[in-house]
């Protein structure tokens, strides 16, 4: 009991750490530098989009705006001209929504069932099917561009929104199926067995057992698909026509228009507007990444 009252000598308790150690300066210094490097373009974009054209012509791209104006944003959204249409990016935005929403829903719905079937129901030929699917993920898009044009023309969907939706759904399939298959494989197999003993069938197990446990992977798939399809340019420009161009294509047409003065502030605003959807998706769904949704199913 004498030790309890004794005064400690020498090292005791938590080890003291200096805030400005050489290690910390190096570590945080590097991180801050890299962060700044990545943030700078965004800063320039935001600042420029809030300036009027006279201020931009002064050439100080890093200077904050003297007179803040939202006119470039209004113009980018509602007034900028592409070809004959002068209703800004709003048209492209709604086109992109009409393309993205069904493509995401269709591709995830099909891929999740594919992944579930591949992971749990080892049907005959499953391995061959899976190999073909994975192989599909490695074929460069460019190779298939023209054949798909012909295909869509033959089924009468070339140049329509639904044609593009089909293309996006098919191209998302390999990677999404792989994603879902791996996730369902990682779920305890005994759950599947228990459900079979309990008399649930293919769809019963999918909807009642697997789906409720799969929120995280659905969120991941949704992020992948929404950003991928929203940011797509190539398919949009190849398989649709001007009236239904997605936002990215329209952005390009606004920024690259050769007539008149280059309105840098409008271009910057338009670019930020186009990037807003993926950005929002990241921020919102990050919170939905609920971990341990399967906790309690297995040992714990």
């Amino acid at each position: 009991m004498t030790e309890a009252t004794a005064v400690f000598e020498g090292a005791h308790g938590p080890k003291p750490r200096r805030t400005f150690s050489r290690r910390n300066i190096f570590l945080y210094g590097t991180l801050i530098m890299v962060a700044l490097y990545y943030m700078l373009p965004l800063y320039v974009m935001i600042v420029t989009s809030l300036k009027g054209m006279p201020e931009i012509r002064l050439g100080n791209i890093f200077a904050p705006p003297v007179e803040i104006t939202f006119q470039p944003w209004v113009k980018a959204w509602a007034e900028a001209c592409t070809g004959l249409n002068c209703d800004g990016l709003s048209r492209g935005f709604w086109n992109s929504v009409r393309i993205t929403v069904p493509s995401v829903i269709v591709s995830i719905a099909i891929a999740s069932v594919n992944g579930y079937a591949l992971a749990n129901w080892r049907f005959k030929g499953a391995n061959v099917f899976f190999t073909i699917l994975i192989f599909g993920a490695f074929i460069p898009y460019q190779v298939m561009l023209y054949p798909i044009v012909i295909l869509l023309r033959e089924i009468g969907l070339y140049g329509s929104l639904w044609g593009l939706v089909i293309v996006h759904s098919i191209f998302g399939m390999p990677i999404l199926t792989l994603l879902f298959r791996n996730y369902f494989t990682s779920l305890p197999e005994e759950l599947f067995k228990a459900a079979r003993v309990d008399g649930a069938g293919f769809w019963g197990i999918y909807f009642q057992i697997m789906l409720p446990m799969s929120l995280p992977i659905f969120v991941v798939a949704m992020i992948l698909q929404v950003t991928g399809i929203w940011n797509d340019f190539l398919f949009g420009v190849v398989y649709t026509k001007p009236d239904i161009y997605p936002m990215t294509v329209q952005l390009n047409n606004i920024v690259n228009s050769v007539q008149g003065v280059k309105e840098y502030n409008v271009n910057m605003a338009a670019t930020i507007l186009t990037g807003l959807v993926p950005l929002v998706i990241y921020f919102v769904s990050g919170r939905l990444f609920v971990r341990g949704i399967a906790a309690g199913a297995v040992k714990g």
Partner: protein, 361 residues
């Protein structure tokens, strides 16, 4: 409590292979009505595979499975009248305890009132009524396993299948649940097939044990029979901890000879007469020590190399002919490392195995 003799589960010439690997080879097994049968073996012996075949979760490569006289070889798991309890409990995480237990009945479109009644009855038997509204994540390991048993119980099945149900529990809880399982079996009188790699579970629970190795049943007998009269060298070595002491030598002129070790076999109950190379096995607790050794079929001097007091008994490691030789003596005896002991063995307590086919002599 072992049954009335009618056959509950019968397996005929069952083959199962995964690609080129044969897991089960021409397996035959007949389980009596109300019997508690334990499939015991080390990992990879095919015991869980066999259970999955009975459950219908694996398609067999050849052979037949009968449950209550009905050929269920091609039947769906839910059509076989079986309930299964898994090692990982496999509770549906998003459903409450009640939802978990009633899932099978809901799939079978049983009327709601009857579902409530059956769940209540099972919950009463397993004493889990207060937990019915909880989610599995809010349960302890022991409670989860009880719910998993309840899920099989509500379905009123003929055969319970257990796949290492206690392996994920800690030692104390495992012992408690083992007792409860035994009581449950006495109470329900259902046929139970139980897979484990734990000898203690097998010995304590089983009416009969089937010891498996490489997809073949090595011995199917009561725990006592398996312990005292192992059918072959593998079973002898597998059952018991520490394992049976084995000496390799020769049977000649009614004696077993291995180096200095020479035993008269006059009192050994031979099942088949043999001379030639053989194994002699004796359980650690059957080795007589000190005064008791006098007058045994063979007496020899040994030196204690390691002493392991377990409380109730003490294990002493010695060596005979350079091979490990364990003794199990009373916990009261005072033996220290390095002590010399007199030991004796009676042939009647021993097991002899042919060195060629490794079968019991």
């Amino acid at each position: 409590m072992s049954g009335n003799g009618a056959t509950s589960v019968e397996i005929r010439n069952l083959d199962l292979s995964f690609g080129a690997i044969d897991v089960l080879k021409g397996l035959n097994l007949s389980v009596r009505e109300g019997e508690f049968l334990v499939l015991l073996g080390s990992s990879g012996c095919g015991k869980s595979t066999l259970l999955n075949c009975i459950a219908g979760l694996l398609d067999v490569t050849g052979g037949q499975v009968f449950i209550k006289g009905r050929n269920v070889t091609w039947a769906e798991p839910s059509e076989r009248g079986i309930g299964m309890v898994f090692q990982s409990y496999a509770l549906y995480p998003q459903m409450s305890v009640e939802g978990n237990m009633s899932f099978g009945l809901r799939n079978a479109r049983v009327p709601k009132s009857e579902i409530r009644e059956r769940v209540a009855r099972a919950a009463d038997i397993l004493q889990i009524e207060p937990l019915l509204k909880r989610k599995p994540s809010a349960l302890s390991g022991g409670q989860r396993q009880r719910v998993a048993i309840g899920r099989a119980l509500v379905r009123d099945v003929d055969v319970f299948l257990f796949d290492e149900p206690l392996s994920n529990l800690d030692a104390k809880l495992r012992a408690d649940l083992r007792v409860e399982l035994k009581q449950l079996h006495d109470r329900l009188d259902n046929t139970m097939i139980y897979v484990t790699h734990d000898q203690v579970e097998a010995m304590t629970l089983a009416d009969r044990i089937a010891i498996m190795k490489d997809g073949i049943i090595q011995q199917l007998a009561s725990p006592g029979e398996i312990y005292s009269r192992p059918a072959n060298l593998y079973v002898a070595d597998f059952i018991g901890s520490p394992a049976m002491n084995l000496q390799q030598g020769r049977v000649e002129n009614g004696r077993f000879l291995a180096g200095e070790f020479s035993v008269s076999l006059d009192s050994y109950p031979f099942e088949r007469k043999a001379t030639g190379d053989a194994w002699f096995g004796i359980r650690p607790e059957h080795v007589l020590v000190g005064d008791e050794a006098a007058g045994a079929d063979v007496e020899f001097a040994i030196k204690a190399e390691v002493v392991e007091p377990l409380g109730s008994d003490t294990l002493v490691l010695t060596s005979v002919n350079g091979k490990r030789f364990w003794l199990r003596i009373s916990g009261q005896s005072r033996v220290a490392t390095g002590d010399s002991l007199r030991a004796g063995v009676n042939a009647a307590d021993a097991s002899l195995f042919d060195a060629g086919d490794e079968e019991r002599l």
